[in-house]
Subunit: 351 residues, 2 copies
C-alpha cells in the first residue's frame, strides 16, 4: 500500500492538550506522516479514544465516502510527572462533583473493587487473591510480548505485598503510565482481499455511554454500558460468546478485568473467582497481549492496540509462546472513564 | 421530538481540557442533557471542531447505523484570562516549530494579511480599508442578531484607529473570546418530513487538511484546503456558486473573510477589494449572523452555529432586518488552525 492510497485519517487521543501542550493533533499526525490533502479528525472519549476513533473511521467507510482509512491511537504521557499524569487522567471523570473532591482514577476503581467485594460477600483475602491472579496472568502474557511496557513476570506474593495505592488496590493492580501508539487500516469488506492477503473482518460493534458521575450510578460492581455494548455487538454480528477464541479487555485496574468479563457476559455475575483462580483461565486467552496492566496503557493508543493484537493473533504474527491456536473469533473491549464510555468490537478471521 | 428519539450525540469542542479542566466532555454533555444509554463522542479539529463533529454525525447517519443524531458545538473560554486563552488557542498551531517561537494566532493571521498585501501589491491604506469594511459589515449584521456577543455597530474610522494587535491587524480585525454553544439535529433525508415541517437538506460537503506548520506552506494568501473542500462540496451537491443566496464563512480575523471568499471561488483571487468596498457587497449576505467577528467565536460552537444560522435563514427565523429574501441555497465554511483543517457544507431549503 502506498501513502496516497489513504483516503482519510482518524486519530484517537485523550489529552495531548495537557500531556504535550498540542491541540489539533490529527493535523500534526497527517503532516508527520506525509499524508497531504486528506481529511483528518481527532476523536476523544477518555480512555476509549482509540476505540472511538476506530468506530468513526468505520462509519466513514460504511457511509460510502471513503475506501481506505488509517486509524491511529496515540498518547505521550511521560513528559509530565506521574502526579501530574494522574491529575490529567482524572479529567476523564466528572470534575464538577467528583474530581473537585480530590478523587482520581485509582480511587474510583478502588470504590468499584469495594463495591464488588461487598455485593458478592468476598473476604479481603479472597478479593486480593483474585486481583493478584489477574495481575500475574497478564504479566505472564506481557512477558511474552516484546512490545509490552512492563514485560516482566510477577508472583502472587509479590503482587499481594506491592505498595497500597487506594485500598484495596495495590501497585500491582494498576496499569502503568506509558507512551505509545498503534494503528490499523480499514476498508470495505469487498475490497479487503485486494488490500491484504489475510484480512480480518469487523463482524459487529456496540457503544454506549453511562452516567459520567459515578455517585449517580445504580451500582459500581458491574458496567451497564459494557453489557449493552456487548449485547449490541453480538446481536449485530450473529456470533455467540462461545465462538470467541480470545478477548482483549480493558484491565486499567485488575478489578476491571473481572467487571468487564462479567458485564460482557463471559462469566456469570459474581462468579469470576471460580474461573480466575483456576489454572485453565489462562487457556481462555483473556488479554494475550499482556493487557493494559502489563502491555501498558498509553490512553489513546489502547483501543487501537487491542485491535492490533486481535489482527496479529488471527494472522499468527504474535510471539509463538502467546499465540492462540488457530483463532477464528476475537473481541475487544475498551472503556473510557469509570465504566462510562464502553466499546465492544467483534472480529473474525477473513482468510 | 422527545429525548429518547435521539440515537447518538456528537460534541465538537476544541480544548475543554485546558479551558475548564474537563475531558470526556461528550459524556458530560449526554449526562447534563439527560440523554441516557446512547453512544457519544467528542470530535476535535481545532477551530473547526464544530464542523468536524457535524461531519462525523452525518457519517453515522449515512452509514445506516443511526437515524436521529444530536450535534452540539461548545466552548467555555472565559474561565481563564485573555492571555491564557490566547496561549490555549495557540496549541491549534504547530507547537513544535512555531508555537515554541512565541507565535500566536493573531501573529499567524497577520502574516497571512501581509502575504496577501504583498502578493496583490496593495498599499497599507488599501488593505486597512478592506479589513475595516469587513469588520463594519459584520458588526452591522451582528447588531441585528440578538445572540451576537459584540452586537454593536462600529465605523471604518473606529476600526482604523483601534489598538494594534499584530501588524497590520487591529483589535477590530479580531474575533472576540466568547462562551457559547449551538446544536442541530440531523436525520436521513427520507425521514426529514416526519421530523420537522421545514427540513433543510445537506446537499454536499468537503473537508481537507493542509500542512499544520505554516512555514512549510507554499503561500499564505490563499487556503488550498478551503479550495479543495469547496470544489468537493460543489461537485457532490451539483450546485453552483451562482446558486448561493448566502454564506457563513470563517472570519476569525477580517483578513480570513477575504482569503475564504477567494479560496471558495466566490471572488476572483486578489479581487475581493472590488467587491468588498462596494456597497452591494452587503446584499450578497456574507456572514448575516455577524460572523465570528461580531457574533463571537466560541471555538467548538462556531461550525455548528454557522449551520444554525443557515437553517434559521432558510426557515425565516432570524431577526427581520437581517433576513435574506427567500433563500434556497447556503454555504458554511469552518476552518481549524491557520488555514489547516477546512470544512465546507452546502445546504438547500427542503420545503
Amino acid at each position: 500500500m502506498e501513502k496516497n492510497d489513504i483516503d482519510s485519517l482518524y486519530l484517537g487521543s485523550f489529552s495531548p492538550e495537557k500531556f504535550i501542550n498540542q491541540g489539533h493533533t490529527s493535523a500534526l499526525a497527517s503532516f508527520s506522516l506525509g499524508l497531504e490533502n486528506i481529511p483528518t479528525a481527532r476523536v476523544e472519549s477518555a480512555c476509549s479514544s482509540g476505540a472511538a476513533a476506530f468506530k468513526e473511521a468505520v462509519f466513514s467507510v460504511s457511509s460510502g465516502k471513503h475506501d481506505i482509512v488509517l486509524v491511529i491511537g496515540a498518547e505521550k504521557m511521560t513528559d509530565v510527572s506521574t502526579t501530574r499524569a494522574t491529575e490529567i487522567l482524572s479529567t476523564a471523570g466528572d470534575m464538577i462533583h467528583e474530581g473537585s473532591c480530590g478523587v482520581t482514577f485509582p480511587g474510583l476503581f478502588a470504590m468499584m473493587a469495594n463495591s464488588y467485594k461487598k455485593e458478592y460477600d468476598l473476604g479481603e483475602e479472597d478479593l486480593r487473591n483474585i486481583l493478584s491472579s489477574i495481575a500475574v496472568k497478564n504479566h505472564e502474557s506481557g512477558s511474552k510480548n516484546e512490545k509490552a511496557h512492563l514485560n516482566h513476570k510477577i508472583t502472587v506474593e509479590g503482587a499481594n505485598n506491592s505498595r497500597l495505592v487506594a485500598s484495596p488496590l495495590r501497585l500491582a493492580d494498576c496499569s502503568p503510565i506509558s507512551d505509545g501508539a498503534a494503528s490499523v487500516v480499514i476498508c470495505p469488506s469487498e475490497m479487503a482481499q485486494d488490500v491484504h492477503d489475510e484480512p480480518v473482518n469487523l463482524e459487529g460493534f456496540g457503544h454506549f455511554t453511562d452516567l459520567l458521575p459515578v455517585h449517580l450510578r445504580e451500582n459500581l460492581y458491574r458496567s451497564e454500558a459494557t453489557q449493552k455494548a456487548a449485547d449490541e455487538a453480538f446481536r449485530v454480528s450473529d456470533i455467540t460468546r462461545e465462538n470467541l477464541d480470545f478477548l482483549e479487555v480493558h484491565d486499567c485496574f485488575t478489578i476491571n478485568e473481572i467487571i468487564a468479563l462479567e458485564s460482557l457476559g463471559i462469566f456469570e455475575e459474581g462468579k469470576s473467582a471460580e474461573y480466575i483462580l483456576n489454572e485453565d483461565f489462562r487457556n481462555f486467552r483473556v488479554n494475550s497481549s499482556g493487557g493494559l496492566k502489563s502491555k501498558g496503557h498509553p490512553i489513546g493508543a489502547t483501543g487501537v492496540g487491542q485491535i492490533v493484537e486481535c489482527v496479529s493473533q488471527m494472522r499468527g504474527e504474535v510471539e509463538n509462546s502467546r499465540q492462540v491456536e488457530d483463532p477464528e473469533y476475537g473481541l475487544t473491549h475498551n472503556m473510557g472513564g469509570a465504566a462510562v464510555s464502553c466499546f465492544v468490537n467483534i472480529f473474525s478471521r477473513g482468510f
